[in-house]
């Protein structure tokens, strides 16, 4: 089992959203989204509740008509084609298995609508049951299955028609935490095995990062950033994304010096300015910016670092030993809190104690400058 499926080479665009928007009674749920889904990728729409990700998915499925913009499938606008004529299939959050039909009938339902012959339907159903390892449950009713088994049947049903685009609505939403981890990887395996292009919606950043090739972070109906899980985590483009994905320490400061090779930012109350070893894009000039540093990229020491840049002084306010790693909350000189995680790779006593005065520092390449 491979963990990451990095798409090789440039792929072609399968579905393109052009200035897609949707409003309900004056409330804008999705505003002017431009997005491209590439052949064979898993794309995750990630965002908090009410960010418009579900509305976007429902527009793709055809359950909601866009208020504006276009949905292009291979260059053709399908925005006003009803769901039953779209070559897209969805796995619902609640799975929406027909309770009056057996597993077999559920999977065959979509195929029957295409007026396929009985032998063809039987063949595909068997193939799908095998794909999701549910051959033994062919004649069961959904009520006789566990949550995980229902999800497998729902997946088989949505794959049976070989859709051009597979839509997953909170695929792990109805599973307990233990099953989630296993199913995330297995789901990716099955999707990659079939080779279907997939758009999923989730509020769980871990799930998005585990499953998706690319992530689109949404807030207030807009897509803020699109990128690989790595890019989104390491190079967030705005404060919202930095804060939404993982933990982050944000320093608000002003640009002191800006050169193509480095940037120096002054942060009030931080002992030393922040030095970043690469240039940044932006309007130029002294302007307020944010600097994000991930907790695991920070170091703690009892002695004052002798570097010219990138350190500050604080007092340990709170610490939590979590086995693998420890989390420290450090109160900085300006009263703000900074979070630091340290892996407990050495078997020893906690070297730092509550109320201890410490210095924290980081490398010049650990920081990301956030303009928005």
């Amino acid at each position: 089992m491979t963990l990451k499926h990095i798409s090789t080479g440039p792929s072609e665009v399968l579905v393109e959203l052009e200035a897609l928007s949707k409003s309900f009674d004056g409330h804008v749920a999705v505003r002017g989204v431009n997005l491209q889904f590439y052949q064979g990728e898993i794309f995750a729409l990630l965002g908090g509740s009410g960010c418009g990700k579900s509305t976007l998915l429902r527009m793709l499925a055809g359950f909601e008509k866009p208020s504006g913009g276009r949905i292009l499938l291979n260059g053709q606008d399908i925005a006003h084609i009803p769901p039953y004529k779209r070559p897209f299939n969805m796995m619902f959050q609640s799975y929406a298995l027909f309770p009056h039909m057996t597993v077999e009938q559920n999977i065959a339902y979509g195929l029957k609508q295409d007026k396929l012959s009985k032998t063809e339907i039987d063949k595909t159903v068997t193939e799908m049951l095998k794909l999701v390892h549910m051959e033994a449950y062919r004649t069961r009713k959904p009520s006789q299955l566990s949550g995980g088994q229902r999800q497998r049947v729902a997946l088989a049903r949505s794959l049976a028609k070989h859709p051009k685009l597979l839509l997953l609505d909170e695929p792990m939403g109805a599973l307990d935490k233990k099953l989630r981890g296993e199913m995330q990887l297995e789901l990716v395996d099955i999707i990659k095995q079939v080779g279907v292009t997939c758009v999923m919606v989730t509020h769980d950043q871990e799930e998005a990062m585990t499953m998706a090739d690319r992530i689109g972070v949404m807030n207030a109906g807009e897509i803020l950033q699109i990128g690989s899980p790595h890019d989104i985590y390491e190079y967030p483009n705005c404060r919202y994304v930095a804060d939404f994905i993982g933990e982050v320490n944000l320093f608000e400061g002003r640009i002191l010096e800006e050169e193509p090779a480095y940037v120096i930012i002054e942060v009030p109350n931080l002992e030393r300015p922040i030095y970043i070893d690469h240039g940044i894009s932006g309007p130029g000039g002294t302007r307020p910016v944010g600097v994000a540093v991930r907790p695991e990229k920070m170091r703690m020491s009892a002695e004052q670092p002798d570097e010219q840049y990138n350190w500050g002084k604080g007092i340990i306010d709170d610490l939590a030993y979590l086995g693998q790693h420890s989390i420290y909350h450090v109160k900085m000189s300006d009263g703000k809190f900074v979070q630091i995680t340290q892996t407990n790779d050495k078997r020893r006593e906690t070297p730092f104690e509550l109320e201890q005065e410490i210095f924290l520092s980081w490398n010049p390449d650990a920081c990301v400058v956030l303009e928005k």
């Binding site: 499925a61 055809g62 359950f63 009803p82 769901p83 039953y84 004529k85 897209f88 299939n89 969805m90 619902f92 959050q93 609640s94 929406a96 298995l97 027909f98 309770p99 009056h100 339902y109 979509g110 609508q113 295409d114 009713k141 009520s143 049903r157 949505s158 028609k161």
Partner: protein
Amino acid sequence: MKLPEPKHPFWQRLSALPFLQGRNGVIALPYLWLLLFFLVPFIIVLKISFAETEIAIPPYTDLMTVEDGHVQIDLNFNNYGYLFSDDLYLKSYLSSIRIALVSTFICLLVGYPMALAISRAKPSTRNVLLLLVILPSWTSFLIRIYAWIGILKPNGYINNALMGMGLIDEPIIMLHTDFAVYVGIVYAYLPFMILPLYANMMKLDHSLVEASADLGASPIRTLFSVIVPLTKAGILAGCMLVFIPAVGEFVIPELLGGPETLMIGKILWQEFFNNRDWPVASAVAIIMLMILILPIMWFDRVQNKQQEA
């Protein structure tokens, strides 16, 4: 539930009975109700149906007579025999069932789309629509049926309107025909079809309808392969609520039907009030009950099967 601590020895012994303990005590209440208001009257009617007419008060003989110190029970089956000897009764039963079946079917055809539309409406509109369904029953049933006389009679609203538009030269005879009876029954019992259907449809998970569309089923296909099968309980309940009272309907055929409209409710009335033949009237009622119990038992079995699945 525990019965309160009894004082009197009778209550002590009663509450000590195993079938009145805990859960059983709760279940016993509806059974007690049925016993008092269904079984006892039923036994009285059954008793009368085996008696003979007599000019007396009440106008039938006693089943039990005490003669020479021993009790004698006379069961008279002639009333039932009489029902089968005169084909008026058989025809009336069949005609009642036919009228009730057709009316139920029309109610379903009209009520199903209405219930579906109400269940799909916005919550604010939904309440108004529901109110509109229930509102007519706030007026007296009798007055509403009388109103139909005014609408259907030869110089009523429909005929006047059609003649005024020049579509017909002579009034169409609608009142005092079977057609008027159908109109009356469908009109009067439609809410009893719509309400259980609506209640059932509200429980239907809308994502199932979306899933069906997503898998390529047109709205019509979705209706017949997903919505209808999943609202079977509502359909059955609605049909029962219309069919059962419609079979025994008396007011509607009396007011809107013609002399050739045969319905068992009318026969019952005539036997009871015009002929003062209580035993035959009771026999008519018992047979009608038997006819109605069959579909109820079938309904019960289907429901049990559904719960098992």
